[in-house]
């Protein structure tokens, strides 16, 4: 029987697990959370049942059906609170996946390893937030944080909040804030109307099949109007102010390339600000597996969602930021192919069509809402770029200039930018972009910040501990697995 290991239990991973099971493969599904659903279907824990939770989610019924099917299926082993900390390639097959299971950042967790016939990577993405003066103050959150705390805990990060950045995600963030009682003073989308038109208007017939996506965004827009939230284009939060916490922000008009326009600044008193400039795919496992990336730095896949690494499939946001419907379609195809199915199979016909419908979204979002080259104009020399190691923009520039280095690795080692505990997840791409435009002719060492051979934090004692053979590790019930993390 084919053994399929699915990493990530968001929309793509859940769909992959179900598709692989339909073809009779033996499936193991891992997620670092103690709940299924990933960030998109982040929900209240079992300890806090709510009668109408579905009104907070798009595709909630799909989620319920996927998770119920998998949870009741003896051929699908679900391991929650499972942190993959390394992936080693092998001469044959996709390699060995090393996992630590237990309370997040706990001690004495259990180490497991898997050597499956096929791996489906569905590791998703996290917010990309560009640095700006004051972004390290408590009270400055990513959009994803506001969303996760609202949906997962019913917590409002602030009473008076502004949302700023770029992309359609700003709308559900504002909607979630309003739903937990925050007053959203404004949503500031950095890009201007011509960019939005350029992204969304061409070939509108291609959008026809994507009516579900339109309905999702339309729902947010209606909520927006109902709560009279100003939605302003071509503006951005360019600074956050306060001593121990954010007390106000400066909002300014910015040009089409995101350079702040002097004289347009306006100060707004807030107690929280939520920033999101798009998403960064979580690529470390794909890189460790040897998967080739596209120019846009997503996992390159063929029509079976197979990557360039043997036996390694990829689905969802790591192949392009395309949203839930694309993730579900890609996951289904990846799981089907990983279990030995072929793309021409009848059962897959609708899904393959669905994937084509939603595939254009990633490119449209990038064209309409992508990060523009003028963003470093927001920075001052004392703006923190690397939050972990507290490396300022000034220090990065001085080091690049005084050493004349065009090597990302060398400048990282000299400044410690990107070498902190988050392993460059938050600042990595920003550091790369800042250095690439400072170093004349760009960086030359071909290094990027997505490579993390140890892909999750693990305590040294746990690393030294014996590995429990995966086959002898059985979870007796789902309640036991969630208890382990409380």
């Amino acid at each position: 029987m084919i053994q399929v290991l699915v990493i990530g239990a968001g929309p793509a991973g859940l769909a992959a697990a179900r598709a692989a099971r339909r073809l009779g493969a033996s499936v193991t599904l891992l997620d670092s959370s103690d709940q299924l659903g990933g960030q998109f279907w982040r929900h209240l824990p079992a300890a806090r049942p709510a009668a109408r939770e579905r009104i907070l989610h798009h595709g909630w019924d799909t989620f319920q059906s996927l998770s119920a099917t998998l949870e009741s299926d003896g051929g699908c082993r679900i391991i929650r609170s499972a942190n993959v900390f390394a992936l080693e390639t092998a001469a044959a097959g996709p390699g060995t996946v090393h996992v630590i299971v237990g309370a997040p950042d706990g001690v004495g967790r259990k180490r497991l390893s898997f050597s499956p016939d096929a791996i489906v990577l569905a590791t998703g993405a996290h917010d990309r937030t560009l640095p700006f003066p004051g972004w390290d103050l408590p009270g400055v959150f990513t959009g994803g944080a506001a969303q996760a705390l609202a949906k997962g805990e019913r917590l409002a990060v602030g009473r008076r909040v502004v949302v700023s950045g770029a992309g359609p995600f700003l709308l559900p963030v504002a909607a979630s804030l309003v739903a937990v009682g925050s007053r959203v003073l404004g949503v500031y989308e950095a890009n201007r109307l011509p960019a939005l038109v350029r992204g969304w208007l061409p070939r509108p017939w291609q959008l026809l099949g994507a009516w579900k996506k339109g309905a999702e965004l339309g729902g947010y827009a209606r909520g927006h109007l109902a709560h009279r939230i100003p939605y302003k284009l071509g503006r951005a939060v360019v600074a956050a102010h306060g001593t121990d916490r954010v007390e106000s922000v400066t909002v300014a008009e910015i040009t089409a390339d995101w350079t702040p326009i002097p004289g347009t600044e306006r100060r707004i008193a807030v107690d929280a600000v939520c920033i999101s400039h798009g998403f960064t795919p979580r690529l470390e496992l794909a890189v460790a597996a040897g998967c080739a990336l596209t120019l846009e730095r997503f996992v390159r896949v063929d029509d079976r969602q197979h990557s360039s690494a043997p036996g390694v499939y990829a689905a969802g946001e790591i192949t392009g930021i395309g949203g839930v419907d694309l993730a579900l379609a890609e996951g289904t195809i990846a799981g089907h192919a990983a279990a030995g199915g072929t793309i021409g199979d009848r059962a897959l016909r609708t899904t393959v069509r669905g994937r084509r419908t939603f595939q254009g979204f990633a490119a449209r979002i990038e064209a309409a809402h992508g990060i523009r080259a003028g963003w470093p104009e927001m920075l001052t020399s004392d703006t923190i770029v690397c939050r972990c190691e507290e490396v300022t923009y000034g220090h990065l520039c001085e080091t690049a200039e005084s050493t004349g280095s065009r090597s990302l690795r060398a400048i990282k080692l000299s400044t410690r930018a990107g070498l902190g505990i988050c392993q460059g997840r938050i600042c990595g791409r920003s550091v790369e972009e800042l250095l690439a435009c400072r170093a004349g002719g760009g960086l030359v060492d071909g290094v990027n910040t997505d490579r993390r051979p140890i892909s999750g934090t693990i305590r040294l004692g746990e690393l030294a501990a014996a590995v429990t053979p995966a086959d002898s590790y059985r979870l007796t019930s789902t309640s036991e697995s969630s208890k382990g993390t409380l």
């Binding site: 670092s32 103690d34 960030q39 209240l44 824990p45 079992a46 300890a47 806090r48 049942p49 709510a50 009668a51 109408r52 939770e53 009104i55 907070l56 309370a103 997040p104 950042d105 706990g106 996290h126 917010d127 390290d136 103050l137 408590p138 009270g139 400055v140 959150f141 990513t142 994803g144 944080a145 506001a146 969303q147 996760a148 705390l149 997962g152 805990e153 019913r154 917590l155 409002a156 990060v157 602030g158 009473r159 008076r160 739903a179 009682g181 121990d244 916490r245 954010v246 107690d271 939050r387 972990c388 190691e389 507290e390 505990i421 988050c422 997840r425 938050i426 934090t457 993390t485 409380l486």
Partner: protein, 118 residues
Amino acid sequence: MPSRLLPFCNDSIRPASPTPVTITVNGEPMTGVTGQSLAGVILAGGTLGFRHTSVAGRPRGVFCGIGVCYDCLVEVNDQRDVRACQRRAAEGDVVRSQHDPLPAGPGEATPTPGVTAS
């Protein structure tokens, strides 16, 4: 108290009546709802700053909320470096904020941040 939990009786999703969970944070008791993360309980208590940084002694709190940024690290029951946004609060958890000043260089004073977590 700017960050706060939506009272369950006002919540349109009609949650069941919540079970309280009490932890201590730097010696002060804080009560949240069972199933909340440590970060959620601390935020709902109105505290945004969780720790001070090593180099400049600047306050930091929850940033990414999904376990990526490590800005919300706290000590829990004598275990250091726990992401407060990832760990669910358990009754009686003893949480302390972390601050690890850098060793002072020759002729330098160790940065001393304010000790309050506001």
